[in-house]
């Protein structure tokens, strides 16, 4: 049994010191690893990433993160990634990591993801270069996520995203902004590769639970949705055991 704690959209600012640390210091009592689903800072300022790293310093389980759109706003995504890596956090973008948990292995493939919309109403890479670039970016991150997930050799496999792969978890958001909240291309890549769980954030006005068209559990862990420091999901290990 593997216990996965997950949260996204914590939006740490320069004024956030001390706000999250008390909630995270006991995470090891409840979970075996912590997933951070992007929008970890307010506007991608490296100073905010310094505060974030300090807030997470007492987390004593493996921590895996992806960045979100806010983390790219100051064009310092690479620097923020480096800061988090230096703090011991694994930051994924089109790649994966495997964590050993109590005799089992859990593999996490991660990507920010991107938008474009959902089947039947998805933007198409047709026309202006800007439109081709928009959907081209989504196709690229989805392809890399699928490859990373497909190459994982682990008892449990998780896809970690910021943008949503499905409409299910967007219910409550305005329909007009769905194309900016996620893309079915992410779900298609995940379903082809196979996974046990997908975790994402970004949709503050959405709902927690959904499923890909291929039947993979999807959880929107944006903090305004789950209203907790994190939620914990239990996944069976190689023997299929559930939570204790």
């Amino acid at each position: 049994m593997i216990r996965v704690a997950a949260v996204g959209d914590i939006h740490v600012g320069l004024d956030s010191g001390g706000c999250l640390r008390p909630h995270f210091e006991h995470v090891a009592e409840r979970a075996d690893l912590l997933l951070l689903a992007g929008d970890l800072t307010r506007h991608g300022d490296p100073g905010e990433a310094t505060v974030l790293a300090d807030e997470l310093r007492d987390v004593d389980v493996p921590t895996v993160a992806v960045l979100g759109n806010h983390d790219h706003h100051s064009d310092a995504g690479d620097r923020i990634t480096a800061q988090l890596v230096e703090a011991g956090i694994c930051v994924l973008e089109g790649d994966s990591t495997v964590v050993a948990v109590d005799g089992s292995t859990v593999g996490v493939a991660g990507s920010k993801g991107f938008g474009g919309g959902f089947a039947g109403a998805c933007a198409t890479d047709f026309g202006e270069p800007e439109m081709k670039a928009f959907i081209g970016h989504t196709r690229g991150v989805a392809d890399r996520l699928g490859s990373a997930l497909g190459s994982l050799d682990a008892d449990v496999r998780i896809a970690l995203l910021h943008y949503s792969p499905v409409e299910d978890t967007l219910r409550g958001e305005r329909l007009e902004i769905y194309p900016f909240l996620g893309s079915y291309l992410l779900a298609e890549a995940i379903d082809r590769a196979g996974a046990d769980l997908v975790v994402h954030g970004h949709a503050h006005g959405g709902v927690e639970k959904g499923m890909t068209p291929g039947g993979v559990h999807v959880r929107n862990v944006a903090q305004p949705v789950i209203k907790h420091a994190y939620h914990v999901y239990c996944l069976g290990g190689p023997d299929g055991s559930a939570c204790d």
Binding site: S16, C19, H43, H228, Y233, C234, C243
Partner: protein
């Protein structure tokens, strides 16, 4: 609005305020909903701290051109983690 001319159409004001809330570093929020009804402007959504809610007012008020602000933004509180979900 200047010179006693017609008020800015509500749709344009809504987007001007949303842009300000997204780009002003005191707020940097994309998820605050703006509704203009007559002379009233209602803001809803969640922020993490009372200071950020106050910053929302600071950013928006200079742009209202005489309209009345109702800052209905909620300061989110985090509940203690006490449950977990089993996924088959």
């Amino acid at each position: 609005m200047t010179g006693g001319g017609p008020a800015e159409p509500a749709a344009y004001l809504v987007e001007r305020l949303r842009e300000a809330l997204a780009h002003d570093p005191r707020v940097a929020e994309l998820g605050i909903s703006v509704t203009v009804s007559g002379d009233a402007v209602l803001l809803t959504g969640d922020v993490a701290t009372p200071e950020r809610k106050a910053a929302v007012t600071e950013v928006v008020e200079p742009l209202l051109e005489g309209r009345t602000l109702h800052n209905g933004v909620t300061v989110a509180t985090l509940a203690e983690v006490d449950t977990r979900e089993e996924l088959a």
